[in-house]
Amino acid sequence: MNGSIRGQNLLTLNDLSREALVEVLDTAESFVEVNRRTIKKVPALKGRVVASLFFEESTRTRLSFETAAKRLSADVLSLAVASSSVKKGESLRDTIATIDALGIDAVVMRHQSSGAAMQVSRYVPQVRVINAGDGLHQHPTQGLLDAFTVRQVLSERAGTSGVETGAELFDGLKVLIVGDIRHSRVARSDIAAYSALGCQVRVAAPGTLLPSDIENWPVQVVNDYDEALEWADVVALLRLQRERGSGSFVPSLGEFTQTFGLTLARAKRLRPTTLIMHPGPMNRGVEIDSRVADLPSAVVERQVANGVPIRMAVLYLTVAGTNEGVS
């Protein structure tokens, strides 16, 4: 299959074709079933070693990846790498060489610097590198699980399965992404995935939270946020990246909430079927009102749950290099 991630690194969703994306979603579909079993484990990666290397704090992504690896029967080396170890002078090359020396097949890596996963992939060409979020650049598995969640919910509503649906329901699907696009690796991966799958993507944000070259992106910037909410089939909110200094890009959190937060009043404009998504962790009361986050059309917990089968699929395809014999 053209552009498949099988046997490859997964560093970005930018170069992936629709077929390659659907392959991951279909593979994940089969792992959903595994996760419903009493014994939630398949021997697919038995004897393989997956290192999880998080230079940046993360709860859900790390847990999700490690759970995924264990359910595939891989051995997991979990290394607590303080982000300061690099600051103390250890280079990325030395850090990864140390871990590689223990004998690993794959490394799942999160880093606060854009491109760190790609750099590491050059140092250990024989190891599969899976980017679990690098700076402002990409968060590929989040983009995949978001698309997977959309397909899962919409195909359930249609009384069919995701695999049978393929990618058709993405054709012309109206996706509105709201918030800190500029500093968001999730936005970059989501936009790559949704546009490759055939969705119409619009973005809504204060001018300062849009990338300066937004006209080059495969999206439309909305002028009227309220109107866009009525238009959307999917509203994907982003976390306001206060830790990346985006606080100074808006006058105040209050003003951001007033203008671009999904408040209860604004949520009334959504059709009842419109999906509300958020990659988490949510700033309740900032980008999303607490009551909106708990609406039935908010699928935040489903996104979290789907993290495991998506990451099983990614590990399986990249490490085992095949999609045969999943069951």
Binding site: G89, D94, S113, G115, R122
Partner: protein, 436 residues
Amino acid sequence: MSSFLLRAGLVVGPQTSRVADVLVIDGKVADVGTDLSAPPGCHVVDARECWVGPGFVDLHTHLREPGREEAETIESGALAGAVGGYTALMAMPNTEPTLDNVALVSYVLDRGARTPLDIAVAGAITVGRRGENLAPLAEMAELGVRLFSDDGMGVQDPSLMRRALTYARPLGVRLAQHCEDELLAAGGSMNEGAVSSRLGLVGRPALAEELMVQRDIELVALTGGALHFMHLSTARSLELVAQARLRGLPVTFEVAPHHLTLDETSCEQFDPIFKVHPPLRPRADVDALREALRAGTIDAVATDHAPHAPELKDLPFDEAPAGMLGLEYAAALTFEALGDAPNPQLFFSVLSREPARIAQLRHDDVRVRHGAHGGCVSEGEDANLVVFDPLMSWTARNEDLHSHAVNSPYDGRTMTGRVRATLAKGALVVNDGSLV
């Protein structure tokens, strides 16, 4: 008595060139003519099909000593420079500690005097390059310092820059500015644009450079102080300087070989080897710089040779230090950027004659410790000469570098044009492309 005969090269003068022999005796050009006879014991260098001209003068070399000797020393930098055809280097003051006083400048001058090249020193404009207080410019000028810079960063405070220009003017020295407004470029690690946006790297906008160029042009107009713009990298910066010249302002500028040969897409693989300040720009800027080079409107090509220890270039892109090696490939890269019909006068103008004028290292300048550079290759001149083979094709290899550091982005690149011989301070330092 040592003597050298450069046989039958194209001797490139400021205006014209002719095939001739160049005889060097005891560190001076003794004769230029056809069919000169070699005195007994004379070393003959075959210069047929080569260009013979004044040795190159680099206005912008980071020699890293004192403080970062693992990346470069004055000695290793001088040897790399010699292989690159340079006979004089301008050592930048952003060492550790900063070259901001006579003791440290003397140290570098003394160490430099022991190398095969002439090592001139640029003193810092402000104490510790902190941009707060003026360094003792007059005391350093007494030692022979003719160029001052806080390079690595520009002088951000316009009021201090104004004062520096006013103070420097009667000293007969020139200030050299790294133009980037650090507030506008804050946190940036590559050019701001479509590529940085896709890569999720914070950008350094072209405007950060251009605003400071504009500001400094007005400060020059106000003060009358002479200013040299370092490593200009955008089409707009060049336009601004061209306009300033029309006003008759005493401004000069250099471009760096990497800005003539690489664009921002080089950063797409997140390899910090391509990280440099000012950053690699879009193709349109590269093309504009090359066009200006061919049109003869660029004063100097200067390397911004910036060695960094390998482990620092293994850091993530945003954390790695900026800068790349330049001395050994600058001539070939300039030759490449000059295009299909490279003009040898222009080649020596940007690599030797104009930089020597800006550095005040020419025959008629008041020099304290250095020989004369950037001359006409005529009888009686100091023998700082280079033999450049414009036909030779070769491959750049990191393992062949003479710098301690290896942070060159050109590993594996095919180059055309190579330095065959360098004569510096009257000695043959490089022959057949290798150190003697």
